[in-house]
């Protein structure tokens, strides 16, 4: 073989072909493809449910079981994609399922009753002017759940099971999906909404919560692997909360039924599109941010800084 001969001549060693260098193996499960597969499948299922509901009117007696199935869907997809990938990886992340379960329990024990019953935000927040509504949603839908999910990640996995920066994302996603599963179950069991409405709401809340968790994950990873200001973590939680507050308030304005004399219905597809674009945009931004930080850390390590 010409290539091999050239090589023997140039090196002058006894090798017929050059020794194959060991391939560098990434032993951890990759987070972003799992997230993309989970969110993409969820989006596909939701669109399918909306289209089917537009053609075939689902009978009332299947609304509730279908709603429960849709509520469990993000959790099932998380098991199917990110969690299964962890099981297959050489060095899968430990305590991921524990984070999922504890987050769900915390949502049921504290998060949900705090927002829905003790503060009863829905009963007085929805009628307020836009800026007040943004503040209320930022705190109720953003800050409180994000702090609770952070506490789960912090005290279950942060100290002993964080090995690389992507771990923060993986554990935050697990906490978010566990937390949301409880909220979605409460929603479908208490409101018994039509399947298309339930599907769109479940996707919208999942997209916003996942976007938030990606932003907060950056703060958690920085806190673990770098030496940032102590205000970085509360800062990223505040930014994530503000984004969710703005999206909730503005999305409500855009998708609610218009006041008109003609027949008018809520524009649910707008809500779906806004949520999908938000999740995609923030995911891309966070991939870039994580990669940049990782590269800078490697360069700093290489130069001995």
């Amino acid at each position: 073989m010409e290539f091999g001969t050239e090589n023997v001549r140039s090196t002058g060693t006894g090798y017929i072909v050059p020794p194959v260098e060991d391939e560098e193996i990434y032993p951890y499960a990759r987070v972003w493809p799992g997230l993309a597969a989970m969110a993409g499948t969820l989006f596909g299922v939701v669109v399918a449910v909306v289209l089917i509901s537009a053609v075939v009117d689902p009978p009332r007696n299947i609304w509730s079981p279908l709603g429960v199935l849709l509520a469990l869907l993000p959790g099932l997809l998380w098991c199917l994609f990110p969690w299964l990938a962890e099981r297959r990886a050489e060095l899968g992340r430990e305590r991921l399922f524990a984070v999922f379960i504890i987050s769900a329990l915390l949502a049921n024990a504290l998060g949900y009753p705090l927002i829905q019953h003790w503060l009863a935000v829905d009963s007085w927040g929805a009628q307020q002017p836009l800026f007040t509504r943004i503040l209320i949603y930022s705190l109720a839908i953003g800050t409180i759940p994000e702090v609770l999910k952070y506490l789960v990640v912090r005290y279950v996995a942060w100290q002993d099971y964080f090995r690389i920066r992507a771990d923060a994302t993986a554990y935050s996603i697990a906490a978010t999906i566990g937390y949301l599963t409880v909220l979605h179950l409460h929603y479908v069991l208490e409101a018994s909404p039509p399947p298309d409405t339930a599907a769109i709401r479940i996707f919208s809340t999942t997209a916003i919560a996942l976007s938030n968790s990606l932003i907060v994950a950056y703060g958690i990873s920085e806190m673990r692997f770098s030496m940032p200001s102590p205000l970085l973590l509360p800062g990223v939680i505040s930014i994530a909360s503000l984004i969710s507050g703005v999206v909730f308030a503005v999305r409500g304005n855009l998708s609610n039924t218009r006041l008109t004399l003609a027949v008018s219905t809520p524009r649910l597809l707008i809500s779906l599109i806004i949520s999908a674009v938000l999740l995609m945009g923030i995911s891309l931004a966070m991939v870039f941010l994580f990669n940049t930080t990782e590269r800078q850390a490697e360069e700093a390590q290489g130069t001995g800084l």
Partner: protein, 201 residues
């Protein structure tokens, strides 16, 4: 094949990490306190109503709908139109009386009139009311079943709990009424107490 894992070893929690954790928890606490404050200020926000002709000044919850077109039935009423089902109503009405009319007589007359118009009307109690300071008053509480007059609403009948606070003043009986869904009666009673405290006539 050998996997060499490069673990990030950190012996313990650094001071910065510890403070970062404290600040995050503090942020959550601040969020809850802020929401509690916002809730208190929004729920207790009121609007002043002044009727110089009748000599009435009242404060009623913000975002409730005021109606002064009651004719002889009432001077004004405010309703919480954001409620699903029966709308909580505060109503102030005046009934002409003579100087020797007893409060109990007016309440009995009201009860007899309502028993003919309301379904399952039932008096729960009639007793003196001391919530208006030195002004002598009586309070009657009752229940009835309210059905939406619009058949297209397809709503279920609601159990309504009502309260009449009656005061005799200048040859007229001032009746201050609260009507609420029985399920949310306790919650609305707090608002009604505040309404009564601020009412001047």
């Amino acid at each position: 094949m050998t996997i060499i894992e490069q673990r990030f070893i950190q012996p313990g929690v650094t001071t910065r990490q510890r403070w970062s954790n404290y600040f995050a928890v503090l942020l959550g606490v601040i969020a809850v306190v802020t929401l509690l404050n916002l809730r208190a200020s929004i729920v207790t926000a009121t609007v002043v109503y002044r009727n110089d002709a009748e000599g009435i000044v009242a404060t009623y919850p913000q975002n409730w709908l005021i109606d002064e077109n009651g004719g002889v039935d009432y001077i004004f009423r405010v309703r919480n139109m954001q409620e699903v089902g029966f709308k909580t109503t505060f109503r102030v009405s005046a009934i002409p009386t003579s100087t020797d009319t007893a409060r109990r007589t007016v309440l009995d007359a009201l009860a007899m009139e309502r028993a003919q118009t309301f379904s399952n009307y039932r008096i729960l109690s009639v007793e003196p009311y001391t919530g208006l300071g030195e002004t002598e008053a009586s309070i009657a509480s009752y229940q009835y079943i309210a059905t939406d007059q619009n058949p297209f609403q397809q709503s279920l009948p609601a159990v309504v709990q009502g309260v009449d606070v009656l005061v005799l003043s200048r040859e007229q009986a001032i009746v201050i009424t609260m009507l609420s869904d029985a399920a949310s009666f306790e919650e609305n009673s707090v608002l009604f107490e505040r309404f009564l405290t601020d009412l001047e006539f």
